[in-house]
Symmetry: C2
Subunit: 290 residues, 2 copies
């Protein structure tokens, strides 16, 4: 087995060297950001077999994204075989990110959708994730739309994990420019949305809260769903509800949550220190299965 | 010389077969839509040399897009050489589209930005463009944000021709679903913006109007600028001003305008027939140099 830091496998072509190009100049995923993706964690113990966390859930979400975009998603069995091909040459111990990418395919030839998977080692984490940074600072940045912008407007592709992510990465650059690590997007009517690559979790007065999907256009967070389920079993009240931006500063705990790094505690927002409850943070980490 | 319907040339690699892949699995242009592009027309007479329309203006706009995104744009001379390489194998008579594409480059290796050009024949046009469809029908669709959404929010990348175009193509699919050809985007506060791949031009009471750039986030239209300049010389008053959606239905003439197809007259909007003034349409066509 090789110990490659990156693996790429393309549907119909198999495993490629990571330096080998995978899409043509006219692929609509490249020229229009016209495609979707999903990603999850791979855990590999020293000398062990890699384990993909909740592949099922992420394949389901990828299928929903593709359906919303009218892209014919390859069957789950084809994705599973492609993932297995990639895993067969993966044995780097620690955590890695599995990415599933689907584009509408080529503009000049009717070749059908382009599908590939990639595996990338997370150099910042150890086998058990203890090196993972568990706290960050964030800034609020407007997303430029009201909280109901996506109502009855399916062409805006709310809730769809598309490849058109440029505003998300530009917002993260703006955060670094302001000396912070990440972003919480806000609406023009004063509510919190989510992060550029993460969901929002707020602890407040015995409740765990997160932003509703639907009219807000935010992505469903698989990990927020997992946290809510475990938290309710542990006695918490949970609710998807719009949280006013002003309430973020006075919350009992604030997290950005993703499949890749789990719940990450926000310790300062727009330069203002937030409540940091280590015991609460540890429980929320456990709810997420991290 | 070959008579290929498509030509691709990649900076650092030269002319490639159009079926040959150009970007890797980790290219941020592909995985995040993190890049920019520009496009213009190529005119080639039978047996003649191809002529690129206003390469200068489009290279300038590409540079502005790259600057707004913090991507190091290759010097114009490099782009010109790349375009020349592509043109050297292009001789298909008629109209073609030249596309200039720039991405932030690879995530896994510091290889710098990816830059390529492509040429695509416009099969729907003849040498002088007379086969070009000069009228279309359109629908209005909300863009989900107010008309000042981009004020003081550079991370939203207003005015930047990024590769994250998925909402634009989804809106065009929605138009076809409604039996129309194209889209005029609208704001939540009731103004017209532009089309998914075109600028807006409105004739009204002796004025030619178009949507202002800046706070609206719309792209500057090189062709609207050309039209305004020629129209003023011909006695028109011109103005960049927000046009209420309601005024579109009662305009003296309504066009969607792009470098690829020039000004295209909209004959019906949301199923309601619009004023069609053939003489006016012909003059506007002339102003655009089409």
């Amino acid at each position: 087995m090789t110990h490659a830091p990156h693996v790429v496998a393309v549907l119909g072509r198999g495993v490629l060297h990571p330096d080998e190009p995978v899409v043509t100049a006219d692929d609509l995923g490249l020229t229009r950001g016209d495609g979707c993706f999903d990603s999850t964690r791979i855990l590999t113990e020293e000398g062990g077999t890699p384990h993909v966390v909740d592949l099922e859930g992420h394949l389901d979400r990828l299928e929903r994204s593709a359906r919303a975009m009218d892209i014919a998603c390859p069957p789950q069995q084809a994705w599973r075989r492609l993932v297995a091909d990639a895993l067969a040459v993966w044995s780097t111990p620690g955590e890695a990110v599995l990415k599933l990418v689907l584009t509408r395919g080529r503009e000049w030839r009717p070749t059908g959708p382009t599908a590939y998977v990639s595996i990338t080692h997370r150099a910042d984490t150890g086998i058990t994730g203890h090196q993972r940074p568990r706290t960050i600072t964030a800034v609020t940045l407007t997303r430029g739309h009201p909280s109901d912008a996506f109502r009855d407007a399916p062409w805006l592709l709310g809730g769809v994990k598309t490849l058109s992510y440029v505003v998300n990465v530009a917002a993260q650059r703006e955060a670094r420019r302001r000396g912070a690590d990440d972003v919480i997007f806000t609406t023009t009517d004063g509510y919190a949305l989510d992060g550029p690559t993460s969901g929002l979790l707020v602890a407040r007065d015995g409740w765990l809260l997160s932003t509703p999907t639907g009219d807000t256009g935010i992505l469903e967070s698989v990990t927020v769903g997992d946290i809510f389920e475990s938290a309710r079993a542990d006695g918490w009240l949970t609710r998807f509800v719009l949280v006013p931006v002003a309430d973020l500063y006075t919350s009992d705990g604030l997290w950005l949550v993703s499949s890749g790094r789990g719940p990450v505690l926000v310790t300062a927002l727009d330069g203002r220190p937030l409540a940091v409850d280590e015991e609460l943070a540890s429980r929320v980490h456990g709810y997420a299965g991290f």
